[in-house]
């Protein structure tokens, strides 16, 4: 299978593309890993307020060594800073923001996304794996919109966009939109629907690497 690293969007380009779709003033939770790159690509003139589920709204970037505080961390347990107007709160309040539908957007990574919006991103179900879920199931159940940011295929060349997830689910019918290195794809009542192709990528190239049909008639309306 073709490696997707040298073609299509880079990780930063995917992040930049995601950021374009986030309105000014949005309250956003960025998942650990590739979604964190979104914070480096906020369009000029926009401010997003970042929520980290361990108890901070108004999270800022990594600290200078002199400002580093082991008890000012993000959900990935990395040290962060706080922005002016930030607030600390306990876990019940933090998850009231998530489960009560107060956050505008959750951006998450994925192992698999199904054509009906099912997401699998917490466990491969392997026998020797230590199961760990954190806040992922709460985020997908409670946040208004769930974006997935992912490579289109696994390192082994398997499609991540599938008809049905084979890994254990994080949530049922929860994903709104997928941003991969090859395309932006909506999850609709009719399944995957193309919104945009990465530069130099053809529709057929994306479809060949997707294990479920992608409809194209959706693209124009979705971009309006």
């Amino acid at each position: 299978m073709t490696s997707a690293t040298s073609i299509g969007w880079t990780r930063d380009a995917i992040a930049e593309r995601v950021a374009q779709d986030i309105p000014n003033g949005s309250y956003v939770n960025l998942g650990i890993g590739i979604p964190e790159l979104v914070a480096s690509h906020v369009p000029a003139g926009r401010t997003f307020i970042y929520h980290t589920e361990n108890g901070l709204l108004g999270m800022g970037p990594s600290p200078a060594a002199s400002e580093s505080d082991p008890e000012l961390i993000n959900a990935g347990k990395r040290r962060v800073t706080m922005m002016p107007g930030a607030a600390f709160f306990d876990q019940a309040t933090s998850f009231a923001m998530i489960r009560g539908g107060h956050l505008d957007l959750s951006v998450l990574g994925a192992f698999q996304v199904a054509a009906n919006g099912d997401l699998a991103n917490w466990s491969t179900g392997a026998d020797d794996a230590i199961p760990a879920v954190g806040g992922a199931m709460d985020l997908v159940a409670g946040v208004k919109r769930v974006f997935v940011m992912t490579t289109h295929m696994t390192k082994e060349g398997e499609p991540k966009l599938v008809q049905r997830c084979t890994y254990p689910l994080t949530g049922r019918a929860v994903v709104t939109r997928i941003y991969s290195d090859l395309a932006v794809i909506d999850v609709t009542a009719r399944g995957f629907a193309l919104v945009e192709l990465a530069p130099g990528i053809t529709f057929d190239f994306v479809q060949e690497r997707t294990a479920a049909p992608i409809i194209t008639s959706h693209a124009l309306e979705a971009r309006q």
Binding site: N54, E71, D90, Q91, V133, D138, A141
Partner: protein, 236 residues
């Protein structure tokens, strides 16, 4: 006069009994009450059920309690933090039972336990392996699962400042589970870096009101997991 101060962590944890359920605050190292945990290791209670978001790192704090094989079951949302080796080894060896709970459901189960709510419905985890075997019910057009409140015999948490009545303030993201856990245990034990007289704290900003706290231990310079691990420490 009310004075909830205990002279030492050792005295504060002395009555934790074999088989007790113990909630331990912290998200990663932030808020982890290392000195209380180490006192519990020294005290020797075993067969514990621990409720905590993670399982500790290195060979100190919560990881050291697990390594001493004092914990038979852990109720937890994320037991495999980077640097966490003790829990994975025990789990693979079948020496510890794991009840995996989504983080928000864990927080709400503790909150509910402390608030006298025996159970609640949530859409979190519907359609996933973590909903298997749980009662479910449709509200509106959406399926929800029934989750039960959790109560404990003891809670161990870390505050920044406490007063003699047990009012507590926290430090930044070290707050995390502590306010919920304080409400949900028969006996709540707080270690605080600063302990002041009742009346010294601004009543408008108190996070955990003293009614939820039974014992306050002054630990002026609490250890941090990362610093202990960098120094290669292990406990005991």
């Amino acid at each position: 006069m009310i004075d909830k101060r205990f002279a030492s962590a050792r005295e504060a944890v002395a009555d934790i009994f074999d088989g007790a359920t113990v909630m331990i605050g912290g998200f990663g190292e932030a808020g982890s009450p290392i000195e209380l945990i180490h006192a519990l290791i020294d005290q020797g209670a075993k067969g514990l059920t621990v409720v905590s978001n993670n399982t500790g790192t290195g060979l100190v704090g919560l990881a050291a309690l697990l390594r001493a094989e004092r914990v038979s079951k852990i109720i937890c949302s994320f037991p495999k933090t980077a640097g966490s080796t003790v829990f994975p080894d025990l789990y693979r060896a079948g020496k510890i039972q794991l009840e995996l709970v989504p983080q928000g459901t864990l927080a709400e189960r503790i909150r509910a336990g402390g608030a006298g709510i025996v159970a609640f419905y949530t859409p979190t985890a519907v359609g996933t392996p973590l909903a298997q075997g749980k009662e479910s019910r449709v509200f509106g057009d959406r399926e929800h699962v029934l989750e039960h409140g959790i109560r404990a015999d003891f809670t161990l948490i870390k505050g920044r400042t406490a007063d003699t009545h047990g009012n507590v303030l926290y430090h930044r993201t070290a707050r995390n589970f502590a306010p919920m856990m304080a409400t949900a245990a028969t006996v709540t034990i707080v270690q605080a870096a600063q302990v002041v007289d009742a009346g010294a704290l601004d009543a408008e900003v108190i996070v955990t009101p003293g009614i939820f706290v039974d014992r306050v231990v002054h630990v002026p310079a609490p250890a941090l997991e990362s610093a202990l691990n960098e120094a290669g420490a292990s406990y005991p």
